[in-house]
Symmetry: D2
Subunit: 389 residues, 4 copies
Amino acid sequence: MKLKRKLKMGMVGGGPGAFIGEVHRKAARLDAKIELVAGAFDIEPRKSQQMARQLLLNRRRVYNNYKEMIKEELKLPVGERIDFVSVTTPNNWHFPIARDFLKAGFNVMCEKPMTFNVRQAKTLQKLVKSKSLVFGLMHNYTGYPMVKLARDLVIKKELGEIRKIVVQYPQDWLATPLERTGQQQAAWRTDPKQSGAGCVGDIGSHAENLAEYITGLKITHICAELTTFVKGRRVDDDCNCLVRFDNGARGILHASQVSIGHENDLAIWIYGAKKGLEWHQEHPNYLYVRELGGPVQVWRRGNDYVATKSTAAARATRLPPGHPEAFFEAFANIYCNFADTLRAKLEGSKPDKLMTDFPDVNDGLRGMLFIETVLASAHSRQKWTAMKR
Amino acid sequence: MKLKRKLKMGMVGGGPGAFIGEVHRKAARLDAKIELVAGAFDIEPRKSQQMARQLLLNRRRVYNNYKEMIKEELKLPVGERIDFVSVTTPNNWHFPIARDFLKAGFNVMCEKPMTFNVRQAKTLQKLVKSKSLVFGLMHNYTGYPMVKLARDLVIKKELGEIRKIVVQYPQDWLATPLERTGQQQAAWRTDPKQSGAGCVGDIGSHAENLAEYITGLKITHICAELTTFVKGRRVDDDCNCLVRFDNGARGILHASQVSIGHENDLAIWIYGAKKGLEWHQEHPNYLYVRELGGPVQVWRRGNDYVATKSTAAARATRLPPGHPEAFFEAFANIYCNFADTLRAKLEGSKPDKLMTDFPDVNDGLRGMLFIETVLASAHSRQKWTAMKR
Amino acid sequence: MKLKRKLKMGMVGGGPGAFIGEVHRKAARLDAKIELVAGAFDIEPRKSQQMARQLLLNRRRVYNNYKEMIKEELKLPVGERIDFVSVTTPNNWHFPIARDFLKAGFNVMCEKPMTFNVRQAKTLQKLVKSKSLVFGLMHNYTGYPMVKLARDLVIKKELGEIRKIVVQYPQDWLATPLERTGQQQAAWRTDPKQSGAGCVGDIGSHAENLAEYITGLKITHICAELTTFVKGRRVDDDCNCLVRFDNGARGILHASQVSIGHENDLAIWIYGAKKGLEWHQEHPNYLYVRELGGPVQVWRRGNDYVATKSTAAARATRLPPGHPEAFFEAFANIYCNFADTLRAKLEGSKPDKLMTDFPDVNDGLRGMLFIETVLASAHSRQKWTAMKR
Amino acid sequence: MKLKRKLKMGMVGGGPGAFIGEVHRKAARLDAKIELVAGAFDIEPRKSQQMARQLLLNRRRVYNNYKEMIKEELKLPVGERIDFVSVTTPNNWHFPIARDFLKAGFNVMCEKPMTFNVRQAKTLQKLVKSKSLVFGLMHNYTGYPMVKLARDLVIKKELGEIRKIVVQYPQDWLATPLERTGQQQAAWRTDPKQSGAGCVGDIGSHAENLAEYITGLKITHICAELTTFVKGRRVDDDCNCLVRFDNGARGILHASQVSIGHENDLAIWIYGAKKGLEWHQEHPNYLYVRELGGPVQVWRRGNDYVATKSTAAARATRLPPGHPEAFFEAFANIYCNFADTLRAKLEGSKPDKLMTDFPDVNDGLRGMLFIETVLASAHSRQKWTAMKR
């Protein structure tokens, strides 16, 4: 039974001054598959109402807090009620909100990191499974078409056995004690109570997710050094790791918030026995493919030769070659696949495999395992700390 | 009196298989300022209905043709009726549709080229003026933040007197006789009856618009060579010009649809007496600023040092540095300023200057003057052909 | 009969403070095929002696002027006498010196531009022919391996019919009236009596030579605009041309000495019916090869896949891939081929074809024809001025 | 007392087919400060003679082995005798040859790695000191002008306290078992008896040297993983390290010979509290300087603003901006400073500080300490292994 309407989205978080909530809204809106109908945007109800007015939302669907939202939305009939909720609060709230919505039977799109610890992540994993709900985790960088191409080249064995992976995420926005200036983003992200970990949790986990997504490999061991360069900061702002993967591949993973001159310089190099790949988030439309003994190839998004190798990349593409796509579209691709999967479920059909290509509760658990392993390793004098599954 | 609703948009063109119509829809949607409520999407009513279903539009607002759309929308009360129409048909339809909507009192957003000739362009210019309507022309590349920064650096005299401008728009998609394969885009764009001119009209005019937008200068003379490299093609596919500007600056403007390996490689270099600028559409987040005797500076979108120099660039920015923005956002910026200007008008207030920063009917006329001058020059044995104002 | 010694080189020009003379010396020295044994380095004998001391030259081989050099060297027995002379004076001296050495039976390596006008160039052409001497012209940029690869790709028809060529040489060192500060290089290069032409002669001719060398095509028509942007300057400092080639290809050639931020940004784009090429002098180890419908290929100097396509490129390469080569080596490549050709002649054998791959008196004549045609066109109101052969 | 002649150089190694020996010869020759007069080029006397003929050397100065060379050269009077010897043999010969020449009173330029182990390195260090001889170690990458600029920016405190260093040296030439094909370079470099270590010794030590040279910091602790990816290979071909520096800075150092698509991609990123630097060996003429909150600056070799910050960079520059310099010139810069220092010594004067800017026996010892520490760490289960001084 075809659903002749957009999916209805609620949002917790994303109030005035928030960054990522507005990104979620734009990304969800771009393809006209989803409409925002309800929200509890801020911990202060007044600010939540203010945001709702800006968004031209129906006032009755704006709630004082997320618990009220659950309770009231449940009273609405299916079809009017939200089909899913997007959780875009500071990190410490992700878990309880996601958990409560899942318990109440709502599908969830959650910002990363999914939870504060592995235990909570496993709780969510069990809930999603037992409730048969759709759960998306916003590891947005895997939404880029050329990342999907990279993954498909690995799957098609074009690289041969993977030998080495170098993945980085340097930034510089915390090179000074910005949190002491009252800057909102810096304040909560360097507060261990709100953020959990520092650099490793905020961006290190993106690097981990990107490497595992493209290669299909799993990290098994980590040797980590965490450093806090800015005096007085209560969380790490630099993270350097040696890593080992389950096929024997070696890796380097590093992230930093004090690497002056870098903005969001997430990048990855993958070396197989036959080919090498390179991709940069800040230049997302290009994938560098290198073959032993041949010219470097610059693959460009949107071309038929990309589509030939990767249906997922083609599906994640909205514009022809040379009209660049970027961050919002990658973000929107996560929403698209999440929405298509959810729609299929609501229509009683089985989503095809391409639709289910979005990060989920299992990726969220991997992220928490990664963070905990890095933290453990950073405190260990042993070289290697195993990362549990 | 504040307008507490989104602006209502109608669309003519943008049916199944069309490229630019869907771009208009996504761009108009991104910022939640505009909602599409009506349309005549295709010359075949059946296809128009098909598109409307995809878009989940109200069937009663889907029309068999644009004339019916005008007639029926006029019957609706203001507030329910469309506030403006977007014209995204093949080129030959731009003029009659825009003219008729304007005559009926509707505001218009029109794809480029605005008309088929200068005479038509002047007709629209008069209509817009006499009716006091808001008219936008989709020269989307001027929506990029770093283009706005470039313009503001010129306005602030940072470059000194402009001496030389090099602007290019090479593509390769028509390097072979693609139009003979049945490809829809190639077919109408190389049909002189539907497209008017070839390369010069399709992309040369973007180069002209970009150069004049950034520098604030006007082209006064052109020495052009138009070539058709693909045998049997009925329009030019390559355009090389020497140009002169009204301050005495010299320029080179070239565009091509047979430059193998280039996708949409619109780029501009501007040389003043004190500094030089360089910008590339395919890497839109960067502006290269070069000062005599100093290091090259790479200015990156989203930074405070950009905002300091250009309020227009800051206003056209949605994401922090390092999260790349691209084509859709530039397109959406044109819609934003158009919508803000229109909203101000509907609310009875005067739009501020930043809002009116979008290409309009005067830019459309410049474009037609440019195309006609290039065509005249291409047929002339004289070196210089004057471009009238 | 094998020559068991280095070739003996004399030099006219290249005194204290000169730039290009020292480049000639280093380039000639690099491969141990040539030794400098004599010179008249400066118009002031005292400075010439000073240079000779720096170079640890035998004082008896340092001359007061080039005429004395001819006379005295002729007294020496072959084998001790210089085998050739390098002329590296300001432009106005190239012709008389080259002519007199040729007349006296000496082989010549001459800096560009070869002469002051076409008439002189034809005189040298006749002399070289009638005397059967070896004459090299230092169009150094054609010595780069990747330029040779580009040429061989054209020869092998990999590009298909050439359609369009864009070639540029922007600099910025004359963006201000540097010649009025006493700077030696600027002074003679902007003095019409010493330099002949301005920008077009100094660097425009490099662009012409590069385009003709790689493509094997000849320019037939030019439409030029020359401009002097710096007030009071007596020669042009900016040169923009539309050009036509003998196969019907179209071209743009522009050069400038006021393009702020560019150092020696000689670059060329060549578009054929099947492939496109791009090369930049400042990044000489890379050739960008673009095929319709495929990834961009970055060919890197020194690889087997380069050698496979171009024996000339392989022969012009001294280092393995990734150890960059640059300006001196390109310069030295011209000397190598010149020296190998001269050596073959001295040994009584015929140089193989690869050895004769260096610019000669015919290229010098092309350069003068180019400059004269540009100057004529710049003064003409007709669009096209024919370039004679 | 001024020395009115070139310095006389002998060479051990660099026979037919050798790569680095010929680089030494060209680099030593470029600036006309040094002439090659004697050699024992190959372990086979016949091949040594063959090389001498190619080089047009006096047959009497070609020796059957290096011991004969020492003995015979000592018989020649000072001034005719070699002033120094360059050792360019496979690694295992560096130590005995350097030692014996030092013992005999000769100055030495030695290829890296200096020795096979720390003990030998200390022996050389003592010898150089006790004999008061000039000893150069060919860590050629520190010869690049922009590396010297980077160092001077650090010295001038422009970066603030150094926090993090990332240095890499990926290659791909050993991605397959090339050594089993008979390729001479691969054969000895993967033979533990001739090369000592694998990737870490061959190129990892370049990374170490570059980082310590620019920052002036010393590595104190290493956590290393060495891997052999190609089956049957007897040495490591991949090296990943976390490192700590003596000021508390953190670092990542990685090198690889199996990173497909990389040629000699030595690169370094240095992050201070105020600025960041980036440099790439394959694009040596550029230094990227990044300041918090400002545009990226691309500093280009040869400019006055470079000279203002770094006399060492200016001194190491032969060409004006935009005429690229590369590998040979960097190599030659090491020879220049070595030669100027040696000349000063021979003339009885004290070399100025700029002259002594070349890697020496102490750098060689650091290299051996680095290699031994990496090897120890790679076998350790402890995270950190201290690097002794």
